[in-house]
Amino acid sequence: MNQFYIILILAAFGLVFWLLRGKQWARQLLLLDFVRGLKVTLPYFFKPKITVQFPEEHTPISPRFRGMLALRRYPNGEERCIACKLCEAVCPALAITIEAQEREDGQRRTTRFDIDAFKCIHCGLCEEACPVDSIVLTSNMHYTMRKRGENIMTKEKLLAIGEAYESEIAACREVDKDER
């Protein structure tokens, strides 16, 4: 008997739903959208939390992350850049300016290596073009310029960034070496 009533009630509900289908006021009255939304959010209530305390904590980033640029050195301290100007040529934003000259020992070296950080679009084409893995994009994305002119990253600044991040840069390249 009970079963009969249950079926009847369900059928009555079904009939009412069928009759009210597409009716906006009925959806609102029955909180159908609310139920549908909860279906997405409710599971997160039970999942583990990933919020980090930002300045102190960081989310992990890919070894291929393209942040601030840097110039690397060889382990013996010699700068890698040989002033081939391929990065300058490939840069779609014309952000790189290079001037080269012969160093006293006869090697081809830059006398000026400027990157305009405002022009740079972090596309990473310079890194791809570099034949000696000199110019790289580091994971550093938190940098600020407070004065006009600070956006020009000179050779000294870029080499300093490279020195500061060298271990990390080398590690990222080690992870990714098979894909290169």
Binding site: C84, K85, E88, A89, A95, E99, A100, Q101, D114
Partner: protein, 758 residues
Amino acid sequence: MTEQVLTVKIDGKTLSCKPGQSIIEVADQNGIFIPRFCYHKSLSVVASCRMCLVEVERAPKALPACATPVADGMVIKSQSKIARQAQKAVMEFLLINHPLDCPICDQGGECELQDLSMGYGQSESSFYQSKRAVKDEDLGPLIATNMTRCIHCTRCVRFGREIAGTPELGAVGRGGHMEIGTFLKQGVQSEVSGNMIDLCPVGALTSKPFKYQGRSWGFGSHSHMSAHDCLGSHLSVHTQVTNVGKEQRLMRVLPKESHHVNGTWLSDRDRFSYTANEQNRILKPMFKKQGNWIEVSWQEALTLAAKKLSELKMGQGQLLLSPSVSTEEGYMAMKLAVHLGLETCFSMLKQDLKDQFSGVGVSQITMHDVKQAKNIVMIGSNPKVHQPILGLAIRQAQLAGAKVEHLTASGLTLNYQATQLIAHPRLWVNHLLSHAQSQNIAFEGIKSVNTEVGWGQVDLWVLGEGVLMHPQGSEIRSLVSQMVQATGAKLLILTEGSNTAGLSIVAKELDVNLSDRPYLQKIGIHSEAIWLHQTHPEFDIPFNETIYHQLKKSFVVATSSFWSDQMKEYADLVLPIASHYETSGTQVNVMGHVQSYQAALMPLGESRPAWKVFKVLGQLLGKTDFSEIEALSDIQQLMKLSVLSHAGYDYKVDQLRPANQVSLLNISAKHPMACDAQVRHAEPLQNTMDQLRVRISEQTLQSLDIHSRKTVVLFSGAFSEVLLDISHDIADGCIEFVGDYRELAGSWLQEIELGNGA
């Protein structure tokens, strides 16, 4: 006889060609590309690189396209499997020993090997042994070497042997041990050595001044003209626009192909003079106040110049004009000079212009005429040094069988075979007269002389710098031009400066009398103001203490691009003028070609194109017709340069002036590497000069009672003790300076005093 026409088929295209042509020539004419390294259209064929191998039907194997003459009905496939396979194999062999240093190679981006390896190279080599390395050689201040990169195409060797006539480079060894180098380790001395840089398909020979300076892909190219010889080679000037600030820089100069002047070649002087463009430039208008130079604004400087010049009485000032400035500049300057009553002089070495010689020869002559000439007589000319491009043309004529004779005061080192008649300059007119007699040509009122000159039927006369500076220059020009008219020969009169012809033509139009100015005595003696335009008198005219003191005494306005050390002492007001490469204008070369050029880059600093400065100065001086001039084209319309009828030469000498008698005559011409301010500031060119020596004959030394044999003491000029070079092929009574004698400019045909040295 009608010329035979052959029909060949290359890559399915049916082409007609002439017998004797090679496959690669026919392909080039029809726009079919066949890869090559050793082949060059201006050089002989050696077929050593094998890159141009193509398949020819019914031939057992692939044939080199550069060395295979076409035959009628030949079917050639440059893209077939056999051809591609052969080309790929050759490329693999070439890359065996070629280093992979493209990123640091200056040729990178414009390298023929790099380009072709993209099309024919393989990414892997089957050669695993170590690559060879070759020791570099120092080829002098112009050419940088990296011989490890050499692929032994021998283009440089063939250029030296065939075009320049100075076989300084050669190949030593065979096969993998072959090396290109100078046998004697003396470097490359050729005056056209820079062309080897262009010819080298790889980065083995590169430009030393341009070393590591830039990349070819970043340059803008501008057509321009050279301004250091009277032929005016065509240039391609490369400038770079940097990403920061949009500043332009002059990066390098390459030849631009022109059939009527320089072909594909360029002299080193024209190629490397660009290095001076940023050296010692005047960047701001400057005024000397109580011995100190202070910067002033253009407005102040021009007002001051106008005030000083307008105070002059007629005929109390002089304009000293460089013969290498553009015609427009010269026109404006001369117009101003006429307005102010200034005398106008060309800043050249002493010249005898009694005949109103305008710089353009009697008959309009072309480079083709020079190459086709059969019997060339050159009087007082050393084309190899002073007009290198003409030297190459004369060499070509000589190789084609022409007889070349030189009338000179000292033996010349030439790059072609020639007979040299060495005679004291005062005897040159006599030699001409005796030649005229042997050819049965008589001159009115002039007695002929009998000496032996076996020149025969001459069809090209070239009068060089020796005649230009000869005290009897008018006589020589007149006699030769009369002989030319009598025999129908051609005449080429070379001038100093690149635009003497154009400036003389406008001078005639403006009724400015440039003729007969022995300004050695006259310059500035009564001048209260002297206006120097692109001129440094201490280098450009016969200079001595008197002139220096006169310059210091007068108010000197210098409109110039470059400083000179002495200018800081004698000038009172300097206006910075755009350099040659920053100027647009028109040049008329000695063959009568009117050629215009556009500025390749913006003027450096606050310098301005000269015609604009003269326009404003003219307006300040109340010259009303200058206000109508808005652009360079307005000046060009005003001066009607197309009228070359002025070029005619009809001076007839009626009596010979006696040649001046001096005991020891300096016969050295103005140094080719000191010909104008631009060249004087080009460091690489200055470094090509050897140590100063004097050439003199044994008899002359004895007659002067000098017994030293190593050095002599020089009493005139800036030097004291100089090395002695006792030579037997220099006329008695003459002295010649060799090497670095820039400081002695202007002592041509002057008396020199010598004393005993070591």
